[in-house]
Symmetry: C2
């Protein structure tokens, strides 16, 4: 491929002149413009500014330009300035693909969230999470490649992206017990960091939010508000996140010296209907609880529906808390537990950057605390 310099030589003009003639700047007269255009045509020149054009324009070698681009301190200030001017004048931008080929990296991070096909496993916080993730990645010069993962935990798409050198590493979320992705990536030595821990089988960098602490926050808050009989709706045992949140509830009750009636505890699938049914059972116990802690916002919404339907007032007759602080919590005035999303993405990207650079800081298992967002569903003080 001909360069800008070739065109300039053929048209017997300087490189700057050739450049301005080609982009059509006014200061080049029509005749020159014509000559340059003909030269470009004769050489089958494709307008595309590369490092060589910059070098020719600045009258230096490509090495010098490369050094300037990469802030190599060897270059004399005067030369550096000349190159910088050339870069500005030509509106030059280094080609990422070429850099990546040379460096054998892509500066891309792969991220897949859990199966969107399953309506129950929707991801209402994805917009926030991805936004923050992309911001953190960009701060390190990386971009996010989102891909699809049709079966939860499947490794095929990960394999594909690694084999074709599409990404330098991955961020995982929704990791389960014995997540096969973790095993696979660990074995293949592919850099990754996760949001959520798996179990103790592998050592890998993760950031997690203390789910036990979240439930405790909810329970402690309710106790502060004067509640003593507090119920729980959670996932059936065997689901990592549910188990943790359930544990937090039990510990907080015990710590406060409050008894737990097993009738106050109900297990529910992640649907409003199911949660409403479970709420009915819980409220049928005698004495019934004056507050219910839920393991997520959907369940809380289901509970609210039942409580509303029997004419009891949320926040007065029965206080309610959710978990995750999804948009719906805000809408219905539901007290909920918020995950610190910006902190999570910051840390998960930092951990991943370390992995990519073959480092593993001593502290690579980070636990963050969630926070309590108090709304009307539990704000009222209970008369004793």
């Amino acid at each position: 491929m001909a360069t800008l310099k070739d065109v300039a030589e053929r048209a017997s003009v300087s490189v700057p002149t050739a450049y301005h003639a080609l982009i059509g700047t006014a200061e080049v007269d029509a005749q020159t413009r014509n000559m340059v255009a003909e030269a470009a045509k004769a050489l089958d020149y494709q307008f595309n500014i590369t490092i060589r054009d910059v070098a020719a324009y600045a009258g230096v070698s490509v090495t010098t330009v490369s050094y300037v681009i990469n802030n190599n301190s060897l270059i004399k200030p005067a030369t550096r300035q000349r190159v910088r001017d050339a870069i500005r004048d030509l509106d030059y931008h280094p080609n990422t693909t070429a850099r990546n080929l040379k460096a054998n990296e892509t500066r891309m991070i792969g991220y897949a969230w859990h199966v969107a096909e399953d309506p129950i496993r929707r991801n209402p916080l994805l917009d926030l999470f991805l936004f923050e993730l992309a911001q953190c990645a960009e701060a390190h010069g990386y971009h996010i490649l989102t891909f699809t993962q049709s079966t939860h935990g499947g490794i095929k798409p990960y394999e594909m992206l690694i084999n074709t050198n599409r990404v330098d590493g991955f961020v995982l979320s929704d990791v389960g017990y014995d997540d096969p992705r973790i095993e696979y990536l660990t074995e293949r030595k592919v850099p990754f960091a996760t949001y959520g821990k798996a179990n103790g089988k592998w050592d890998f960098p993760y950031v997690d939010v203390d789910g036990k602490r979240g439930s405790q926050l909810a329970v402690e808050h309710l106790i502060t508000r004067g509640h003593e009989r507090i119920g729980l709706i959670s996932w059936p045992p065997g689901f990592r996140i549910g188990d943790i949140r359930t544990k937090g509830y039990r510990e907080a009750m015990q710590q406060a010296g409050l008894p737990v009636d097993e009738n106050w505890i109900g297990y529910s699938a992640n649907t409003m209907d199911h949660a409403a049914d479970v709420t009915q059972k819980i409220l049928a116990s005698k004495p019934r609880p004056t507050a219910i802690v839920c393991a997520n916002d959907i369940m809380a919404f289901g509970a609210k529906r039942y409580i509303d339907s029997i004419g009891l007032e949320i926040g007065i007759d029965v206080a309610l808390t959710g978990y995750d602080d999804t948009p719906v919590a805000e809408m219905i005035g539901l007290t909920s537990i918020r995950q610190p999303i910006a902190a999570i993405t910051n840390i998960v990207i930092d951990l991943l950057m370390a992995e990519i650079n073959h480092l593993r800081p001593a502290e690579h298992n980070i636990m963050l605390d969630p926070s309590l967002i108090i709304r009307e569903s539990s704000a009222t003080f209970r008369r004793r």
Copy 2:
């Protein structure tokens, strides 16, 4: 960099043997393995299968391997098979970056959604949209790069991604009147396709969902259920999507020969509080409407809150419809208008693929119909 063949030669073994020795297959004896390992060390060989290794293994030239990879029909079946076997044996995968550099493409599509920082502009359907978008893109061998766009309509991040050759094109959504992104991309001749039309100033490929039709569907449905006095809550005039949805309501009422009392129409910001206030005003009119069509689900939720609060029953005393069919609509049993997301992403990707290939089909402005999802908020027939 030394190749696998160099290592094999230095160790005086065949390329396959060297390969197996390096990956540690059992069938290679310890002594050979050692020799190969030493040869690799001496040559500072980094294990990395390239097209040259495949060529050496199969006993052909890299050209032949390249042809086989790219399904060039020139290659004799026997040779092709030999190369295929080599590829399989060595678990070879072409390096995407190198291909991209050669072809001057990235097979990446950029997508940014609107500002997540603004809590009112959350994107509850992002998970579905991105999932479908990524699937469609992958079907064409492309991936999605999600990036951040801190101010609505800003072009800087787009500029950045183009200049550094990060993407081959963009998908835009939430396009506004006179969207500067459209002007910029059109001028720079960067391939893009949008979900949502702007105005008539530029000609570009887009897919949109008929917002007028959506409101009409809601109104017609309510009429079928026996309603005659139907109100509307929409955005204040001047917002593209709101204007269209308002228009659909008016036209449907007119077409049915039903009068519209201007007191039945309220304009609201995109918050529940505001929508609740507007609902109060609408229901204060005499005679008051028996149904309210809302321009999105949030407003409908706000309306519901007010209606609940005054002891009227949704679906019986006042029917209600939303728009967009966000997760919240399902949760609260709200009749809503659903956008055909899978069809949208399919078409927007097809349009973009055409642009990338410098084609523009005659039909590059596609309008889709939304569909009505009937739930309890409007399902009951009204006694006349």
